[in-house]
Symmetry: D2
């Protein structure tokens, strides 16, 4: 990981000595909210800036659920596996659903909702955790994408079963920038009840922008404050999102990352490596002989995902706005 896009650093330096009102009620934040509403074509949406993804998920989900209500997430969803129990620490169950390559299996979900609703009605809902929301990530933790048709179907299931749809957009930029993606930001805003636009992974030092389009969900400032998720110098968030949503910087950043990732994929294939799963975004998963890892780890950065078999390991490369052709060439030459 690196820091922020140079344009963001430039702005942070520029206003560093200005006196600005704290806790997110500054003009930069107000302007950034306006820019985001415009980009989403959601003029009435409520926008909130938080520092990181885990706290964002916890506050948003805690805002949606009441007692003995839960949120359905794909088995591999970030809230189900990688957030140290943040949702349960707020008192709520994450209900795991069958996932395929990081995406919730919509057929299985529909069957589950039909069957479970019958059971709730037969036995009495008071004995169960009642599903009240669905969580999906876009792009997913495995770099995969929901198509517009799939998101639309998910929305339909939510309408039919009285569920909120929450989209974790930690990597939303990389999804929207992928050539294979037929979903736009206004689509996301229209189909989800609430979602967030990730800054941390897409050019900011830190920061996530929650967009609430369903007024039945109130992500209050008191809630954000009381969960320790309100930044004292809140304008740091406002300035970063203002910069990202000026002149389309957010999308440019994402596009570079995705384009470099796709080049990387081509390079890997050309060198004869097996691609572990087909990701159209900035994460690429590749099968690597385990014995090569020791040498490789001294030259390039990657994450170990899992042991595939006795000889092979799956590793992940992530590109970013900062990935250059030279870096790519170096990486491929090391393989």
């Amino acid at each position: 990981m690196e820091g922020a896009h140079p344009e963001i650093m430039r702005r942070l330096n520029e206003i560093n000595l200005d006196k600005t009102e704290g806790y997110g009620i500054d003009p930069y934040s107000a302007h950034a909210m306006e820019l985001i509403r415009e980009a989403c074509q959601a003029p009435k949406a409520e926008v909130r800036f938080l520092v990181g993804g885990t706290q964002t998920n916890a506050v948003v989900i805690d805002s949606m659920l009441r007692f003995n209500e839960g949120i359905i997430a794909p088995q591999t969803g970030h809230i189900n596996v990688h957030e140290a129990g943040a949702i349960e620490a707020c008192g709520h169950k994450v209900i795991p659903a069958k996932a395929v390559l990081g995406k919730i299996d919509l057929d299985a979900l529909e069957t589950y909702l039909e069957t479970f609703t019958e059971e709730l009605n037969a036995v009495g809902w008071e004995h169960y955790v009642v599903p009240r929301a669905i969580y999906v990530s876009m792009s997913t933790e495995l770099g995969t994408l929901y198509s517009l048709a799939e998101l639309t179907r998910l929305r339909g299931l939510c309408d039919r079963f009285n569920l909120y749809l929450y989209i974790d957009g930690a990597r939303l930029g990389y999804a929207l920038a992928a050539p294979a993606c037929d979903v736009t930001l206004p689509d996301v805003a229209r189909l989800a009840d609430v979602f967030y636009i990730g800054g941390t992974k897409v050019g900011a030092l830190f920061g996530e922008a929650v967009v609430v389009t369903n007024p039945a969900i109130q992500v209050t400032r008191g809630h954000i404050k009381g969960r320790g998720a309100m930044l004292a110098k809140g304008w740091l968030l406002g300035v970063q999102f203002e910069t990202l949503f000026t002149d389309g910087l957010y999308f440019k950043i994402a596009r570079n990352a995705v384009m470099q990732a796709l080049k990387l994929r081509d390079g890997l294939v050309e060198k004869g490596y097996e691609i572990y799963l087909d990701s159209p975004t900035n994460q690429q998963f590749v099968v690597m002989p385990t014995k090569r890892l020791e040498t490789l780890s001294q030259k390039v950065g990657y994450d170990v995902i899992c042991t595939l078999d006795a000889q092979n390991t799956v590793i992940r490369f992530c590109t970013s706005w900062a990935t250059t052709d030279a870096q790519l060439a170096h990486l491929i030459s090391c393989l």
Copy 2:
């Protein structure tokens, strides 16, 4: 469901007008604790009386886990499906494990623990919910039993992976009384770190006796009180368990129920019904033509478990200490 065994009612009536100290520090409770320690052959165990199963599970599990620790339970375990999110409401994740006929699949569990431990070590445990305890029910929600060999293997896994073993004994009496059961109460006390002996389902008006044999787990009176699980007239619990553990009443009650259940099973088989799953205890699951249910429900009590196919439904009959031969004969005649 019926009320309490007549001997319990007799005792409750007998002392009804006595003035007794409240909140469980009465002599009946003290005596009952002593009787339970003896029956368990666990002279140093801490015994606590609570009112019902859900609050017992919540308080015990909340006592075992710290932040970002979770408890593994079979997918079908009561805490995972039937307690309205009571464990999550205390801030803890229930980690579902593969189950077969209500029992945790020990091979799958071992593989999961090995693999997940590797992942924790590789990625950093701070991002995950770390398993810290295992929950099993004896007998299970489906009437099935763990053998002594299986419980011993489970204990071994707990020792190897630094986990507590917690046994939900809501139906413990029916398990121990089953001819097919090779586990004794002292075995349970020796193998579990903490468990409870269910009263509500085995002859009491209400009440569960928690037995803590591992002193590292402290189920404190303050915790019980603050979770609303301390009965003001606590002696009502003490008197009931004193009665149940005098002259082996608890085991007699359970034996009658199990024997009648096995007779019922034979009667069902004889009449040509398909037994849905082979339960050696007081719950019997049978496949019934759905169209017969309307008539049947006016004559006898049962629970609907699930729809098997277009024509058939699985239903459950539960016997108890109060089930008589005449009732059985009537039930079978209705089928």
Copy 3:
């Protein structure tokens, strides 16, 4: 403390062997709810039966408050001092208010609400715990009473400052039965948004009946279940409240206790003891020379309240439905 009123025991014995549906959806509970709605002249009220006071307070208050909202309680209120942090364990702050003899000081409360509202508006409510409800006990923990004028003023403050009024009626019977009380049960139902009618302290083995008159507050069955406060054999609660609200038994029980308490007070005064505080209900507080306590404690039951000075201790006597003239005479003869 003793058990239940004989009429309640008679009924529990009578139906003990009947098979009754569990979890509170039985006909006894339905009938008891109806009787309570009638007694309250609140035909649309929602009635719920829970086992004990602490769990009742926790579930009701958790149902009223959202994130960073709190409940105001007199400094000496049960939820602030005697429930082991049950409200905080559900995530909510108890905001202590000045109390005089167990009653919230209404002048001080009004000033506080005015001042604090200004502060919230000036600084931003998101940094504070915002009062959303007021908790009072009737009678209070010190046996004192709110007059109708005081409750009406409290209601007015609640309306003005957008607060719910919650009345803890663990001892409601003793309040309503006091000759000094000018409040009726329908008054309570009309003025409070939610309250409970205590059974545990007024003739039942256990049980509290929550009455919700404001439909904006939903005390759901799922919430009760998930907090471990739903009794499996729920009809035990229904039968007890059915009995208490048949032929005015609840009020007869309370009246006897209060009348005996007032006789006791007269006896104490006659013998020259100093009454510590003037209680018009079933609790009497008296100043006793500390050196007499050792002898006294072997003859009669009382609670130590506090050390008054080097020579004297304040103790409390509680009467009940079961207190007889003979017992009173014995007690006074011991003093």
Copy 4:
């Protein structure tokens, strides 16, 4: 408020494009921890970096307390009034103690602890919230200081009553830099069980450094992560604290602020203003005619603290590392 000290911005810019490991296990963080341990003369202390004060208080306090344990705080303490119920949201009661000018009244505290301990022993601790820790701020929310003698006495009370001492050091720099302060950083580390060194208010963009000197308290990385308080690009915290604790920058920053504040106080007195309370640190509280505020607010920044009487308001000026003589002169000229 302004951003960060220029030296911090310089460093953040310098390493912005470096690839650094996330989640706080980077070399900058490790070095900063080492520098802090040295400055504290606490070679075995555990140091953790979090983003903001409210989340820091919540995580630290949640790490210290078990069920039905509470933390004593001065009535005016930040956790009791200004954090939107963050501590209660983690399930714990803040027990308010009498405060004078922001400082806990030690005589009153001692009496309370003695009396309450007696009550706990007499009635049974399980019914209460048991004090387990004491929270104080240094400097306090009103700019006042504890002397070394006072902190030592507080430590003694903690030892006697088995309490942890936790010092909120959001403004610790300004305390230590005050000429009137006789406490050093090693004193704080020696007397507290855990404390934090505030970065947000003392030259950083954001960040607080928790220092745990009592190994019985474990502020784990899993807890920090699960409360949403672990920064993905954790090195941003490490770099800032590394810079603050290199060449004594932290203390220089604080010294400038305090010196300017004292000059400001002299200027205010000279102009005839009444100083509301005598603060020896960077916050100055002054009585201002209310009618002057409208004009004043257009020229300089201040916070309204409270309405003093019909004509006057108490306002607060805060200085920082960035406050210059010219700014001071301008401010005084406006008054």
